[in-house]
Symmetry: C2
Subunit: 414 residues, 2 copies
Amino acid sequence: MLMVTPQLRINSQRLRIDFDQLSNIGATRQGGVSRVALSNEDMQARSWFADRIEESQLSLRDDEVGNLSGMLFSRNLNAKTLLIGSHLDTSPNAGKYDGSVGVLAGLECLRTLRDAGVPLPFHLEVINFTDEEGWWQSLFGSMGVTGMLAPHHTNDSKQDNGPFRAALFRAGITHQDYYKAKRDVNSLVGYLELHVEQSDRLERHRHQIGAVTRIVGRTSYRVTFYGEAVHAATNYNKKRDALQGAACFITDFHSLPQNFEGGMVNCGNLEVQPTGVTIVPSRADVTLELRHADPQTLLQMQARTVEMAMHCGSCYNLRVEVEELLHRDVAYMADAIIETIETVCEEQGFTHMRLPSFAGHDAQILAPFTPSGMIFIPCKDGISMNPKEYTDWQNIENGANVLLATILKLAERA
Amino acid sequence: MLMVTPQLRINSQRLRIDFDQLSNIGATRQGGVSRVALSNEDMQARSWFADRIEESQLSLRDDEVGNLSGMLFSRNLNAKTLLIGSHLDTSPNAGKYDGSVGVLAGLECLRTLRDAGVPLPFHLEVINFTDEEGWWQSLFGSMGVTGMLAPHHTNDSKQDNGPFRAALFRAGITHQDYYKAKRDVNSLVGYLELHVEQSDRLERHRHQIGAVTRIVGRTSYRVTFYGEAVHAATNYNKKRDALQGAACFITDFHSLPQNFEGGMVNCGNLEVQPTGVTIVPSRADVTLELRHADPQTLLQMQARTVEMAMHCGSCYNLRVEVEELLHRDVAYMADAIIETIETVCEEQGFTHMRLPSFAGHDAQILAPFTPSGMIFIPCKDGISMNPKEYTDWQNIENGANVLLATILKLAERA
């Protein structure tokens, strides 16, 4: 049984210096950051992170999928490991907070515990997961740790992954060795991740901390409408206009959440062929995704999406193909961790609420593998993946302290 | 006054051989042709056409914008010139008939008249216009002949025209010299063009020949919707989704012809940024065009289009920009030529009708410059700009004979 120091707090100023330095790596003119996975900027951020780990006298660790960690070892060398982390990669011209906050707060917790000389019943590992955002393969690093990667994620059987392999090679990652990154499930205590909410529920409810209950399931599709390329002056009843079918579908599709409370949808892209202004489009590819916190409702939304696509296709006499690009199951956070976060909030006087995460996170990959939990802090106007992404510094300090106290509570019980 | 040989007919077999040879240049697997302007295939077609002109003992002529002609001279060296032609260039993977029929039938008319030794009161010139289809600059060749080209058509003030200039250079065309291609309006008698209809009115009305009354006016726009790139999981009321605005607009826009009888519209392309499936699109560019045979109605359609774009933009809280890409006025064929075509049809026993052309042609550039006329032949199912584009050989033979007889009637009156 560990002796807890209830008043132990992270060093906010030290964390702030890290945050400001990291925000400069890949900074964009609009005030955001671009550190797409395995880019020069991402490599620079990793190198910077490795320096912080070493200067903090923590041990550096990396694995076969490029995850980079700092280790604070328990005196018990046979102890299990508690993972804390997130990711340093970003989408292009995204915000400074998404991912970074989780990694840097994790590092700060390790430093605080080391400085305080708190003996730990587990090893504590702050981890930066490779390519959470999916520039190449979403959640690549966490999938590596949990053994979910397969050869097709890097070979060319599904698509041309040559540039991905080249980027891995440049980062010193031998893609064939991905399977060696899998951790022994018995070696882990669990996983904790601090993150900005990326939606505005905490802000609207004026809560300081969110205890994530689950991460929504997500399915993405490519819906392709095939018509016929004919001259724009062709008689109307002879036209089979793929773009009109796609436009009809996009409008219908966005009405889905009206019938499925809590559902979220997005069409992120539409590509047209042949593209000439005097030619009726013969092909339109729509890429979209659906999210819901309830697996059954997500399935119903998927079925309705396919129906809508077929209906819009038939209205314009088009052939329709629907290809599933990705599916992620609903991921459940561990009850014990949710309750621990709530207890910590009560003890520290933070207002809090339970909420599902609409956005994907490494925690959703870890959750079926090891008890996992996520701590959310408010996100101004709910805007993220945008240079405008913002949270008050006080929120980051609060979140880091909740993370620290949660680690200590888990240590108490270990 | 010329002595007419009413029974003079073109040599259908000789024309057929030409047609089949030309169809092989740039033939595609789908049975269409790709001879985009100034491409290797287009250059090969020009070279082939030049050989046909020379082997027919006609005189070869070219000009500073790459138009290529065969000349059958009048004995009166001071005579004016009657132009007959169309274009050998095509859209990518388009049909075999669009353009080719007009050029080859013109050549066949010259050969037939030369073989028959018919004395002509004007020089007869069969002309292949450069880039009718607009791979680089639509109607480039006819605009050159009529003096409508300006420096901005080839320099980089409006867009990067470097590749266009390179293609012109490779074809032996010095772009600065475009103005030298302008013909003296007093040197011309008129312009005749035979073409497949590219719509199905002749087919539906079971008419063999169409006498084109006018070519519709055409306006094309780029409509850009600006929203905000945020994470797909952002609260719905915070989303400003450019693609939803564009989809709303595309659907509305295609309803325009319901309120403007005889109007035709097309959206040929839509481009989205940033394209990630988990990011709400911040920008959507729609390129579209409107056609109408009545200039006032076209103006009303244009105004309504802009209103619709603004309305859809406001529904999704988007900024909207509308840029006019191109405007072509309604072009009127000369009454005397329309009537001559009708007289010829009556004399030769072809069923016929007057009709406007929904598609653009070199004749629309020539019409304000010199008395012009177009002869349409049926187009199967109204499908063109597609490998399926088809017309019975008998239609081509009919059209070429109407062209020949129209030339002879104009010669009678000259």
